[in-house]
Every structure is written in structure tokens, then in C-alpha cells.
């Protein structure tokens, strides 16, 4: 898990959420690139973030793309967060004895714009939360940082300021995450993405 590195934070607000990740692509301590976000969009109101072995991240992303396309063709509607989460857990547990080395975290808004935040381990065990979730190489320190700065019922602007300061604080003390950050702010009005400057060391 500490080979490619990376960190992701999700914070929930009032009928909206923000998801942020760093942009580093590295092999142990060698930084190969600084334009690799680890957040993928399933549809406008559902985002998934994955940290772990980059090869497994690509594989799972492609499998999920296939399954969600088949679902939306059959049902003529977008997949809901709760259903997607169960599908992902099933996919991960399918490889119980040779697992994908990937930790995932989901954030979405369902049809009534209720918030859905859930993190999973490598075998697909669900762990829902109502405020924030973090995964990655500095997830322990990020949990402490987010606990201090998170407030309930924030709007999008406050969410952006909070999540970007938490991400920068966590990345400053970690060798294998960093080199820039990207934040997606999602509400019923759409998605706004911003890139944040961090220390490049």
C-alpha cells in the first residue's frame, strides 16, 4: 500500500460534498509524474477514489465502467450510490483469496440529494460515515486533521477551503503523497474541479 502512495479526503456538507486527492505518481521514493489524480467519476453525482497498487486501480476502474454501462443500458437510469457500493463490495470480495491491493472510498448524492460517504477495505467491507473519510498513506494523520476542521452543514465554498487546507497539512508531512492536489466539489447543480498548489517535495 505504501509503494505508489497517495491520499484522498472526502468531506460532506449540506446536500453537497467535496473529494480531494493528491496528484503524485511514484514508485517507492521516485516521483515519476505529478498529474495523476486518483479520483474517478462514475456519473455526475457519484465519485470513487482509490489508493493502492496503480495497476489494480486501473483494472477496477475499467471493470466498474463496464458494469455501470451495462446497468444504465438495462435500466435506462444512472446507478444509485447504495447499489454501486454493494456492487463494488461484491467485486472486491469475489477475489477474497487473491485480493486487489486497493482501498476505496465512495462519495455520492442519491436521487433526493442525500449525502452518501463510504469507505471500504481491500476485501470490500463497508464503513459508512456522515462527515468525512480519508484513505491513503497519511490517512491516520488526515483523520486527526479533518476531525479538528470539519463542521456540520458547510456550503461549497467553506468545504473547498476546509478540504484544501486539510489536504495540504497532511501532505506536508508525508514523503509519498503530494506534488499538487485536485478538488472536485459536487452538488445538485453540477461539478466544479479545482487544482491546488502544494509543496513539490
Amino acid at each position: 500500500m505504501d509503494y505508489n502512495g497517495g491520499s484522498i479526503i472526502i468531506m460532506g456538507g449540506k446536500n453537497c460534498f467535496a473529494i480531494a486527492s493528491d496528484l503524485r505518481f511514484g514508485l517507492d521514493n521516485f516521483t515519476k509524474g505529478h498529474a495523476t489524480p486518483k479520483i474517478f467519476k462514475i456519473h455526475e453525482k457519484l465519485f470513487i477514489g482509490m489508493i493502492g497498487l496503480f495497476g489494480d486501480i486501473s483494472t477496477i476502474r475499467q471493470m466498474l465502467e463496464y458494469k455501470t454501462s451495462i446497468y444504465s443500458l438495462k435500466k435506462s437510469e444512472k446507478i444509485q450510490p447504495f447499489g454501486f457500493s454493494s456492487m463494488l463490495s461484491n467485486l472486491l470480495y469475489h477475489h477474497r483469496f487473491g485480493p486487489f491491493l486497493v482501498e476505496t472510498v465512495l462519495a455520492g448524492l442519491d436521487e433526493k440529494d442525500n449525502l452518501f460517504i463510504e469507505s471500504k477495505d481491500i476485501l470490500g467491507a463497508k464503513s459508512p460515515s456522515s462527515d468525512f473519510a480519508t484513505i491513503g498513506s497519511c490517512s491516520e494523520s488526515l483523520y486527526g486533521i479533518c476531525q479538528v476542521f470539519w463542521k456540520p452543514e458547510m456550503n461549497l465554498e467553506e468545504l473547498f477551503k476546509t478540504i484544501s487546507s486539510c489536504l495540504v497539512l497532511g501532505l506536508n508531512r508525508n514523503c509519498i503523497s503530494g506534488w499538487g492536489g485536485i478538488v472536485h466539489m459536487v452538488s445538485k447543480d453540477g461539478v466544479v474541479s479545482k487544482i491546488i498548489q502544494t509543496r513539490m517535495d
Binding site: 505504501d2 502512495g5 496528484l23 511514484g26 517507492d28 521514493n29 521516485f30 516521483t31 505529478h34 498529474a35 495523476t36 489524480p37 479520483i39 474517478f40 467519476k41 465502467e65 498513506s137 497519511c138 506536508n172 508531512r173 508525508n174 514523503c175 509519498i176 499538487g180 485536485i182 474541479s193 487544482i195 498548489q197 509543496r199 513539490m200 517535495d201
Partner: protein, 217 residues
Amino acid sequence: MQKNEISIGTTVVAIEIQDGVMIGTDSQTSSGPLVSNKISDKISYLTRSIVCCRSGSAAQTQNTIDNLRSLVLTNLFERKFPLKVQHLAQIFREYCYRENAVNSGFICSGWDCFHGGQIYSITQGGYIFNQSIILMGSGSIFIQGFCDANYRLKMSELESKNFLTKALSLAILRDGSSGGFIRLAKITKKGIERLVLNPIKPFYKIEVQQIPKFILV
């Protein structure tokens, strides 16, 4: 080495300049993926004009340097003239070879009145060699090509300061275990002068204009 023992993944560049020696290091100490110290000083003083840069396990290198400082004092009492850099480097080598100090590398450099500025590198296991430019640490592999292309013998002080700043900024950008700011030390017959700099902007702050669209699907 124990898991998550504090180790100095680092970048150190030492070059001979016109009147002496100039050394540059980064300032980050890491323990596994955690940055334990962002403002560490990897240049340790041995005498008034000889310094030592350490890389590898922090505990082992600090212990070796403490033992060597007491050896230096014993030697000073026995002689009338100041210690030669070559002599001190050989004491280092003998100590590292006998104690079999694994996972530690040193650069012993300084100025003496016999041969001017000199740099000696003592690698793991106790091999010593002398060159005009020596790179050490985990981040040094990323700037080997840069140093091969841009280094010239006996540069002036300003040119070598620019060279060291650029080289260290590039290593800090690429190496995960190097970071923080740049510490420079210049050793001439006047003694040791220290300087602290930030990594330079073109390499340090890179604007990411557009994330490729397919990554977001």
C-alpha cells in the same frame, strides 16, 4: 535495519571551488513514509574547517560522528599543527571498516593549508575515494546526469552556488525522501560560512494546466 527506523534519505552534493569547498544538502529526515524532521541539519562540524555530511541510518551516523569527534580531540592534543583533511578521512575510514557500520555513508570535506579544499567520500563498509565532485544519498541518482553535464572544475563562488541550488532543487522535486529547503556550506581558509535557500521556482512549482479527460471517467 528495523522497520521505520529514522533514516536520512537525502541528497548531498559537495564540490571543489576556486578557494575551497562548497556543500549543499536538503533538510528533510524521514521515518518510512512519515517526515519526522523538516528542518534537519545534515552537515556536522568536526573541526573549525572540516565538516562531515551523513546519509543512511540517523542513529548509526550520529554515533559514529560523536566517537570521531573525541578521536579528533585526542589527535589535536598530540600534534602542533592542525589536522589534515586526508588524515581525518583516513581515521573515518578505519573506524567505519572496523565497526562495520552498515547503512551509513559519509562525505568528509574541508580546507587545509597543505592541499586546499578536498572532498573524501567514505561509503558503506569503509571504502574511501577522493574526487572534485561527490554526490551522495537517495536523491543523488536523479541528478547524476545533470551534474555530469553542468559541472566544471574550479568554478567561482557564484557559479557554484547556482549550480548547487539547481541540482538540489531537481533532486528535491523527484526524490520522495528529500525535501524542505537547501542548506549550503562554504569552507575556505576563512572558515565555514552557512547559507539557507529555498528550492528555485521553475523546478519547484510546476503548473498543472489540464488533467487528461479520460482519467476522470
